[in-house]
Symmetry: C2
């Protein structure tokens, strides 16, 4: 059965369609890699590529993308609203199936070493691959941005690998490993925004709620209805089923029904099977009990 890793590089180019197309082609050109999603934002002047495959082809595709981006993007002339340090701003490796987080950390470290050697660029490690506690959070690393990095690179922002010198055209690169992030929204059969906000506050980790959950209450329009919008930062800590139950019970206690769930983008099979296993109270319901998993590449 396959071992699957996802990689979600953010590249500082969101305007030149032909260049972005060639970046997508460079990823797709590697055998065994599937490009699952690509989004570009003109205001941010930034593109995000989501692809997956066995670890080695994913490494190869990521090198191909970095090679092309370093040829095409010049940070000296780059403008965009989103904070960034370099031409390839951040490269997270994400375990999907049959691969541990430790293996993804090892992949990130290896990729960082290879990129530093190949392009003579400063490398920072973040999230699970961070080498110092103050580099776990991406915004902390990215705070000076490309323009301010040179002034700090000898002191607070000394790179984990590579030269203590900003690469003139490519800036710096942040490489890491993190769990799969699931964006999941629950719509309430109500226009009570305050209820959605209260539920969000009660369930999010930052105010003492569920582990690895970010949540916010929103008002949707046309028709107006309240929504609890969530990120599951690690579905092995808090599952979709758990989040559903916690939101539903709080809504019901306020006399409000939950209307529907909404998943943004793709999710890993294990996250879906977890929901089925919990709904049917199945013990030992692992992915090999699903026929199709025996036909994975």
């Amino acid at each position: 059965m396959s071992r699957l890793v996802e990689c979600v590089p953010n590249v500082s180019e969101g305007r030149r369609g032909d260049v972005i197309d060639r970046m997508a082609d460079a990823i797709r050109g590697v055998d065994g890699v599937r490009l699952l999603d690509r989004t570009s934002d003109i205001d941010h002047n930034r593109s995000v590529f989501t692809y997956a495959g066995e670890p080695e082809p994913v490494m190869q595709a990521t090198h191909a993308l970095v090679d092309l981006a370093f040829d095409e993007v010049d940070m000296r002339t780059h403008k965009g609203e989103h904070p960034r340090l370099g031409a390839v701003d951040v490269v997270p490796f994400v375990p999907l199936a049959g691969v541990t987080m430790d293996e993804c950390v090892a992949l990130a470290h290896r990729f960082g070493r290879e990129v530093a050697a190949r392009h003579d660029v400063p490398v920072y490690f973040y999230a699970k691959a961070a080498m110092r506690p103050e580099r776990v959070r991406l915004p902390d690393i990215r705070q000076p941005q490309y323009e301010g990095l040179g002034a700090l690179i000898d002191t607070t922002h000394a790179p984990d690998l590579g030269p203590r010198r900003v690469h003139p055209s490519a800036g710096a690169i942040v490489v890491g490993a993190r769990p799969f992030l699931i964006a999941f929204n629950i719509e309430l059969a109500s226009t009570d925004l305050r209820l959605a906000q209260r539920i969000a506050k009660e369930i999010r980790e930052s105010s003492g709620g569920l582990p690895a959950i970010q949540a916010k209450g929103f008002m949707l329009t046309d028709p107006p209805r309240a929504q609890v919008s969530m990120n599951l930062l690690d579905f092995t800590q808090t599952s979709l089923a758990r989040v559903w139950r916690e939101v539903e019970s709080r809504a019901n206690a306020a006399g409000v029904e939950v209307k529907r769930g909404e998943l943004i983008g793709l999710i890993p099979l294990d996250a879906a099977l977890q929901v089925a296993a919990e709904a049917l109270r199945l013990e030992g319901f692992t992915r090999d009990r699903v026929i199709e998993t025996h036909f994975l590449e």
Copy 2:
């Protein structure tokens, strides 16, 4: 993405381990076919092979199995408790993914034609592939058994294809198409066998309950607890989630909790995703939203 068909032939040999091993090898020997399960019963003197793959490799594997079984099994000396007509007693084709029931009916009819021509054996079509209403149910076709078939083959049991003459060593073969069958049990937190039997009676199709559901109440031992044991004959008609809800609400109404669910064997991805989609009230949650489906062979 792959198109997957399952085939579950029942062969009249359950005692000679070396012969059964060679049958399994014949199936596994076909590129693109996965043998998912094999079970043999000494008293029944019968083996069941479960395998899947794209339609063409599955056809090829089934021919390889029939060729070997026809060489090895002699119905003139076969004894066993389970009713049977021939060396390869029944060959059902089952749509798993990306394949319709109509396509499986066409596969069954083609396979029947090919087997009749290749082995000069009488062929009966059953279930969705039946050509006459009285041949939908397998027990009706199999009723005379191998020993009694010769007396009826010119009248009520004229084959749908092939000679009106029982094959001396191989008997006859029944070929068909049917939906995937899911065996699913729900354990009650109770020793009330009558409650399990009442719930089973209320939900099974034969007493006016849910479509395509068979159900029976059982008593399990060590520790004693009551169980509702079900077959879902077509999960697109009645889902696992629906069955769970119907059993749970009836148990709860009697003051009894449901303890756990138990799935026997493997299930198709779509059956699991259906449960997740229902639990999270997701609209349009199709299999392509699961990352791994993009890596199917």
